[in-house]
């Protein structure tokens, strides 16, 4: 279990995360929603030990995060960051094998063990990348590359996944692929996931919990039905919305209401 209690993080004098609490428990997906600059990515970095806390505490399986070595944290928490460019000719297989770094034993050269290769080939099959393992990362399409980045995170066999806009720039079917991969990990292996997304309706579909963030503060935290209420969304995004029910999945459905439609045309 990964738990944040009243954490505060700052960039210089600017407070980016202000007294936020959340719990990532086994099998659950939490969506992190909020306007640009709300502190979503900073919160995600903080949860991984990437930023020093000004106040509050982060507990990994009941122990403070600072008590763990970097490698140990990487065995428990995996991050899918926003896209980074690969400037060297690295194959998909080499890239995904990078996820096994934290598991390297005492062998000095750090060659992958048989078990490393086994779990990576399983992940490559799971993400349908096995066939293109020999292709170079910078020759892949956006969807394939994002799948490789997720595959590397899954290869760590971490019990907590932190995903920063994993579906940005992806078409509808690729978005579904990525999220169903995350969902199946949660269901089958008791993994917990935190997903930053700007797609509120997508979040309503896949998330068990939603944390709504604005100006670094937690505006609402709970199941989608509780968080996706018109007044909360309007307060967070400063735009009028209509909230009704999705006719098939019965989860909340949010539609922005543009009173002055002419300003669009």
């Amino acid at each position: 279990m990964l738990e944040a209690q009243n954490i505060v993080a700052r960039y210089g004098s600017r407070t980016a995360v202000d007294s936020v609490s959340l719990t990532l428990s086994a099998g659950q997906i939490t969506a992190l929603i909020g306007p640009n600059g709300a502190g979503k990515s900073t919160l995600l970095r903080t949860l991984n030990g990437g930023m020093t806390l000004v106040a509050g505490v982060i507990l990994l399986n009941g122990k403070p995060l600072e008590a763990f070595a970097r490698r140990e944290i990487a065995k428990h928490i995996a991050v899918v960051a926003q896209e980074s460019d690969v400037r060297f000719p690295v194959t998909v297989l080499e890239f995904v094998l990078g996820g096994r770094y934290a598991w390297a034993g005492g062998t000095t050269w750090g060659w992958e063990s048989v078990q490393d290769v086994e779990s990576v080939s399983a992940v490559l099959r799971e993400t349908s990348l096995l066939e293109m393992r020999g292709r170079l990362m910078n020759e892949l399409s956006g969807g394939e590359r994002q799948r490789s980045v997720l595959a590397r995170a899954l290869a760590t066999e971490a019990t907590h996944l932190l995903l920063d806009e994993p579906t940005a720039n992806l078409d509808l079917s690729h978005q579904a692929t990525i999220l169903s991969l995350v969902r199946s990990r949660c269901n089958r292996r008791g993994v917990s996931a935190l997903v930053i997304t700007h797609d509120i309706n997508l979040a309503a579909e896949f998330a068990d919990n939603v944390l709504l963030l604005k100006d670094g503060r937690s505006l609402a935290y709970g199941p989608p039905q509780e968080v996706f209420r018109a007044e909360l969304i309007e307060q967070a995004f400063a735009i009028k919305v209509l909230v009704d029910q999705h006719p098939m999945s019965t989860v909340p459905r949010i539609t922005p209401v543009h009173e002055d439609r002419r300003s669009f045309r």
Partner: protein, 348 residues
Amino acid sequence: MTVTEGLHMTVLGDARATPRRTALICLMLGAALLASIVLVSLFGSERLPASESLCTLFSLGRRGCGLSAAQTAILMDIRLPRILLAAAVGASLAAAGASYQALLRNPLAEPYLLGISNGAAVGTMLSLVFLGQFAFARPLLAFGGALLATLLVYRLAAGRTGTTPERLILSGVIVTTFLSSVIVFVTTLLDATRIRSFTFWLLGDLSGSAGNLLIVSIVVSILCTTVLSFHARSLNLLMLGERDAFDLGVEVSRVRFTVFIVASLLVGSSVASSGSVGYVGLVVPHLVRLSFGSDNRLTIPAAALLGAMFVVIADTLARTLIAPRELPVGAITAIIGAPLFIYLLRRG
């Protein structure tokens, strides 16, 4: 063979560097390096009989192979140390180049182009001018100069939006030209007789290969390349971004610090003994990556071996092309390296 084993074999065999493949490639490159060392020792301004020379080489200088005492001295005391120094310098610069490239996430990073060699050169010159009587000061000050120049370029290149390849090269150009003018100032402190040998040394000169500096260079090149190879798996992740590496469990600041120090040590020791030999650290790692892939566990040792071979051959050209006069080896590596650099730049 079960299905999983079959899958295993394919995943093991292709698309990545394995210990077996790495060992095989390094053994082949090592054998080629040894062969080239033996071969080029037969060439020089003084013609030596081939079979007698080989006999002397393989018996490590014992008499009775039919060479005269003077010929044995030319082969074993002048030619061989110089070839070994060339190998050490080449290995150092190529391994350092490969590591800088991975660390700075920049395929164009190179000790010479980044001004690191010039930093080491300033250090060496200062030790020669002011601390001439202390032999040990030369590699030490060279190392210090290389380290300072690295830090300077790195800080200059780190803009608010991060370090781009272009920014890094620009900072390198600025630091290089600045240090070049420092070198000119220091040169004016020298007496006229030493200026010529100094200019020659600046362009890369392997003729001062006698004594302790040779041993220092060889030991440093082997030790430091080994240390860098031990960090190769971390460098594989750093090569893709510091954030990614951190997330995957790399202790980024410790690895970055170690690799910076060790790579600067390599540049410092090679500049102290032979001046600035350019382009080795750029061209050789690129060729290795093009041929064998980007895994640093293979790239770094393979680049060291190929770099050694490259400078051994370049220096042979330098001392034989217009024999009995000599060219600086840096001129040869630059003549080969600059067009290759342009080619790689256009390709990239």
